[in-house]
Amino acid sequence: MAPRSIRISYQWVSDRITITIVVSVMLCVTFATRREHNHTGLSSDRFWSTKLEWSKNTDLVACGDSRVLNAVSPSAIESVLPVVNARNFGFSGAGYSAEYLEAAGRVVDPKSKQPTVILGITPHSLTPGACLRNTYIEEKNKPSARLAHGDAIDRTLFYFRPMDTKQFRRLFRVSRRSKQLTRLNPDGWRAVQTDHVDHNDVIEHYRSKLFENNTVDWSIVDSLCQTVYLWTSKGIRVFAFRPPTCTEMEAVENERSGFNEDKFIRQFEQGGGIWLDLTSSDLTCYDGSHINRNSAKKFSRRLAEAISDYGKHTDDAGSAGLISDVSEDASPVSRIRLTWKRQQ
């Protein structure tokens, strides 16, 4: 007869609960490793919470919604601009509420030689809906205790995050379609690399749903421009641009959102901001709204060159040369009204 210890071990092994737990662990690990690892870099939780912790440690901060989040690479900017560090303070769905702008202002180091804020202006970011519900607000309201565990555990748990039924079905495919790889960088940039281009769903969503009872609110624009004025009076340079997207999307936004770009630019410049009109026709938009990683690097360098050129020409005496328009009815507080375009 087998020794007692072997009999007890056999009982454990053959016990149905033990078998079930072992098989479950095997299945879970298999699915976790087989799922498309389309996220690298920081975990989602850590990415957002790191952004929320930034304070007075940046020379140049880019703000806005997911288009800015994807389009502005701080490292690409730093390769062009002689700044110490740049950060991307973009949040998905972010609107230019007073709270968000205040948070963005806190990121800039007031002792920097050239503190700079760059605002990516999308029509959606000027809507009440965006100001009420966005990732900035969601992440700010999450308890900080969720990150009590270390990064290694965070990354491990990331593999076991829930998935939708479409992703679940893809686990069983032998060959899977081209991946979309998203990297969440510590500088705040979300870099998305994908070969797959599909605009339809997102554009349809913008066309039929996004701006329903949620068009551009010009009081948000007023409030934004007042903040810009406060920043510029403190010596912070404020640039703005319309983040690159596909032509069809821009047409839908212009038609549905109530956004008037010229009117916005006029108000923005009255507050002391500088509008940047940048070429984007050679960039790749993968989902109808956002540009991919390589395009983001290209665009960011372009953005940095534009800022650098502006800086060079305003350092010179006066603002001649590239200043294409100086208004005669400049505001009483001595802001020079500029419309500045990068010379081709």
Binding site: I19, T20, V23, S24, P162, M163, D164, T165
Partner: protein, 472 residues
């Protein structure tokens, strides 16, 4: 402490580790069970503990008094019932009563302006007060010997698996069972484990996946969605509330099996009911049997005249509606069921319909539709919303049918289709057909099946969290 939380997993781990290695001594087990249950309950808010202890002590002493002092039996029973019902009245119904009185007064031109008092509703108060009342009533009726050990009583009353959302376990079933030390067999442990896994699957995958779509549609004060979408949402809600509640009960029963105790089945495939009477023999069985034994039968039941039978059914169902929530929509839900039961009694339509060819299936469909109408009132935030929803549902058309999966969410829609397919398969097959599949080979593969369920729960869990019945 939520069943779907890391705290609860750790708590269970510690509890069962201690439970397994404790001496087979009932007193020690009662102490552990009571202490653990108090920790479980007090985790939400330790103030709630004072209420359950005070309420429990009154009932414990009242039951002893009922046995010892026959002349004061009625008085002690009334004292016990009054203490339970008054705690329910204060914490659950006071705000409803004040709001309704103010509204009624305003509608007839008076402004009474009673100030609104808002009290936090202790979790599970509706369940443990009913469980406690059944104890004293059974002692009064001579059906049960009261326990002289306060730990024994609180082990019964506060037993953590069923404390906050049932099943309402009768003292005559559980108290004797608690007197013995049960070591669960491997079959019991496996049955318990399976119940827990399926419970979590029903709750985290099915109920939690459906919750966002349902909540989103019912967040509008008046229904603006199309008829097919609303029908889909109501079917989803019917499945959500079943899976949420039966999932919790399965987890509770599974945990009890691991302790060596058997809780009664609380749901028996309720959407296969062939009549409303049948539905109430299958849905929330512990509550419906409680109302039957302690309200309907004492009122006279169906003895006496037809009118009395209807009257008693209406009182029972309206009280059942009120038990579920302090709102007119819940009372309306009770009224819908009472009306259906009355209509059934008068016309005997299930028996007549089932005589037709395919009549059983027809009876199930009709019963399900009637239950669905009731669920509209149960889920709606206001009466206006419920009426608006019903109006939209009866205006049946096919507009936006192609947008259905996008509106409810692709994952929720996929899970809905799978759930309906499984339900239909179970419904159409007889018990014998199912037994034929339980051949030894498939029986051996059962652990693999449960492993698939666990894996699905990990990866397909939905975003929702609270159990629906926690609010009662």
């Amino acid at each position: 402490m939520h069943f779907v939380s890391l705290d609860f997993l750790v708590f269970c781990g510690l509890f069962f580790a201690l439970w397994k290695f404790l001496k087979p001594n009932v007193q020690v087990r009662w102490l552990l069970l009571t202490t653990a249950s108090f920790i479980f309950y007090g985790w939400w808010n330790w103030h709630f503990l004072l209420l359950i202890v005070a309420s429990g002590l009154i009932d414990f002493l009242a039951a002893l008094g009922i046995q010892r002092y026959p002349t004061y039996q009625k008085f002690l029973l009334i004292l016990s019932l009054a203490s339970n019902l008054s705690s329910l009245a204060v914490f659950k119904y006071l705000a409803f009563f004040i709001t309704s009185t103010n509204s009624l007064a305003t509608s007839v031109g008076y402004d009474v302006g009673i100030p609104l008092v808002s009290l936090t509703l202790p979790v599970g108060i509706s369940f443990y007060t009913f469980q406690s009342m059944s104890y004293t009533i059974d002692v009064y009726r001579g059906k049960l010997e009261p326990t002289r050990n306060v730990l024994h009583f609180f082990a019964y009353l506060s037993m953590f698996p069923q404390l906050v959302a049932g099943p309402i376990v009768r003292a005559s079933d559980l108290l004797p069972s608690l007197r013995e030390v049960h070591v669960p067999s491997s079959e019991q442990r496996w049955a318990g484990f399976r119940l827990i896994c399926f419970g979590y699957f029903k709750k985290m995958v099915i109920a939690d996946q459906f919750a966002p779509a349902v909540n989103s549609v019912f967040s509008a004060p008046v229904m603006t969605t199309s008829s097919p979408v609303l029908w889909t949402i109501m079917i989803m809600f019917a499945i959500q509330i079943y899976c949420d509640f039966s999932g919790y009960t399965d987890i509770a029963r599974g945990l009890a099996k691991w302790m060596g105790y058997d809780f009664p089945v609380n749901f028996n495939r309720p959407y296969e009911a062939v009549s409303m009477q049948d539905f109430w023999r299958r849905w929330h069985i512990s509550l419906s049997s409680w109302f039957r034994d302690y309200v309907y039968f004492p009122l006279g039941g169906s003895r006496g005249s037809e009118f009395k039978a209807h009257q008693n059914a209406w009182i029972t169902m309206l009280l059942s509606g009120l038990w579920h929530g302090a709102a007119w929509t819940f009372i309306a839900w009770g009224a819908v069921h009472a009306a259906c039961l009355s209509f059934e009694r008068v016309t005997d339509w299930p028996r007549k319909l089932s005589a037709w060819r395919g009549g059983t299936i027809l009876c199930r469909v009709v019963t399900f539709l009637l239950v669905l109408v009731g669920w509209v009132f149960f889920r709606a935030e206001t009466f206006t919303q419920a009426v608006s929803a019903l109006a939209t549902m009866v205006r049946f058309n096919t507009e936006h049918l192609d947008q259905l999966s996008k509106t409810v969410g692709q994952s929720a829609f996929d899970i809905l289709l799978l759930t309906l397919a499984y339900g239909l398969m179970r419904s159409l097959s007889t018990a014998q057909t199912f037994e034929r599949f339980r051949v030894p080979l498939l029986h051996r593969l059962e652990p693999v099946g449960v492993a698939v369920i666990i894996t699905s729960t990990v990866f397909l869990r939905g975003p929702g969290h609270s159990f629906v019945y926690f609010q009662f």
